[in-house]
């Protein structure tokens, strides 16, 4: 393995190149630093040295997700009516239901997808943002891997939204039992989508920029 902490790693940004995010074409950066957006000649994606305002945008999305995560857990995601009596269920009480009925595997899947993954994702992304802002040199390889896993796993939190959809479709009026969707699912779906966008907005290359001495200020 080559020297990874070298002060002058051979990066696209240092070589005056844009790395197209759409098709990986390397495009020479125009010398005149005009305000005109440059587009990739091959696929048409807007070119940036780094994702624009990555840190500020990711923070904003994460704060929004944290706020929405509270009603997502407090409000019911399903409301079950059985012979006139109604029972609201939150995400957590859904997990407990599966534990009580000895479906430990399913309880674990929902617990991981709906509670562990969203919280871990928020913590990891906040940690990465703080480490980048403090220009940390700590284990860049591991931090990049952590980011990659976060981006990959985050979508699985949509599981609970789909469970509610299928339950609502299968258990309807006209039978003894009906299941209705509760408002919690709206907030929860918003949390999943917003954290997915937050992970996409974060630029992992910022982790590596901090390792370079005399790094030019990230203009774009």
């Amino acid at each position: 393995m080559a020297m990874i902490h070298g002060p002058a790693a051979h990066t696209a940004a240092r070589s005056g190149l844009f790395n197209c995010h759409g098709c990986s074409l390397l495009v020479r950066r125009p010398s005149a630093a005009g305000q005109m957006p440059v587009r990739c000649p091959r696929c048409g994606t807007r070119l940036h040295r780094r994702k624009p305002n990555s840190i500020a945008r990711t923070w904003a999305l994460l704060i929004a997700a944290m706020i929405l995560y509270i009603p997502a857990n407090l409000f019911p995601v399903t409301i079950t009516t059985y012979l006139g009596s109604t029972q609201p269920d939150t995400i957590m009480s859904g997990v407990i239901f599966f534990m009580q009925t000895d479906s430990w595997g399913i309880a674990l899947i929902i617990f991981v997808a709906s509670i562990v993954v969203p919280i871990a994702k928020l913590i990891v992304l906040i940690g990465l943002l703080v480490s980048v802002q403090r220009r940390s040199h700590w284990r860049p390889e591991e931090r990049t891997r952590l980011y990659r896993i976060t981006e990959l796993v985050g979508r699985w939190s949509m599981l609970d939204v789909f469970v509610v959809t299928v339950l609502v479709a299968l258990v309807r009026l006209g039978y003894l039992t009906t299941i209705e969707a509760g408002s919690g699912v709206v907030y929860f779906a918003a949390v999943v989508v917003i954290t997915m966008i937050a992970a996409m907005t974060f630029d992992p290359r910022l982790i590596w920029d901090a390792l370079e001495k005399n790094d030019e200020s990230p203009a774009h």
Partner: protein, 201 residues
């Protein structure tokens, strides 16, 4: 024109593009991110899979998806039932999200791939094919059929004591669609296809 240099998307390190053995992938030597892959038959495989996926998606929408049998009566649902019921319960936003991630986005993704790859196989190209290919690549994380399938499994376990759930033809078709989309993620080598597009410049 073949691209000789490529930069890692996750740490920006520049690598020289080297010929790879068949069916292998190149990873960044600094951070381990995927750089490019070499599948000699990527166009043929991805095209065949995308067409299969579209057929399966049509079948999944025509036939009954899941049926619920309780107290001697059978309630039949289709793939879109959940979306309809959610929108009736004034959950339009969630209904649209479910419709997009489980059906519309996979459909657009597969359609865009067919639009780009079929003419490419025949040696033609259609207008806006680059835009279509970019769209297909960007939509990949938002196609969530596999998560929907897991959601069905969880719901069936939840309802197992309440009623009998009968899987319909559409469910098996949907399972096929999940496998097709996963295979496309494996066999699609975007770099090869972008370079093929460059040959027409």
């Amino acid at each position: 024109m073949t691209q000789t240099l490529i930069a890692c998307h996750e740490c920006d390190l520049i690598h020289r593009v080297q010929p790879l053995p068949e069916n292998s992938k190149a990873r960044c030597r600094r951070c381990g991110a995927l750089l490019y892959a070499h599948f000699p038959k990527t166009i043929e495989w991805s095209l065949a899979l995308a067409i299969t996926g579209l057929v399966l998606l049509v079948i999944a929408n025509i036939y009954p998806f899941l049926s619920l049998e309780s107290q001697g009566t059978v309630l039949e649902t289709t793939l879109i039932t959940g979306t309809i019921i959610l929108s009736e319960q004034s959950m339009a936003g969630v209904a649209i999200l479910v419709l997009l991630t489980s059906m519309l986005i996979p459909c657009i993704l597969l359609g865009a791939l067919v639009y780009v790859l079929w003419p490419m196989k025949l040696g033609h190209r259609l207008p806006a094919n680059r835009r279509a290919f970019r769209l297909a690549l960007n939509l990949r994380p938002w196609s969530m059929t596999e998560i929907f399938l897991l959601g069905i499994l969880v719901s069936v376990v939840k309802l197992a004591k309440l009623a009998t759930i009968i899987p319909g033809t559409a469910l098996f078709s949907f399972l096929g669609l999940v496998l097709v989309l996963a295979s496309i993620n494996t066999f699609l080598a975007p770099q090869t296809i972008w370079e093929k597009m460059d040959e027409w410049r």
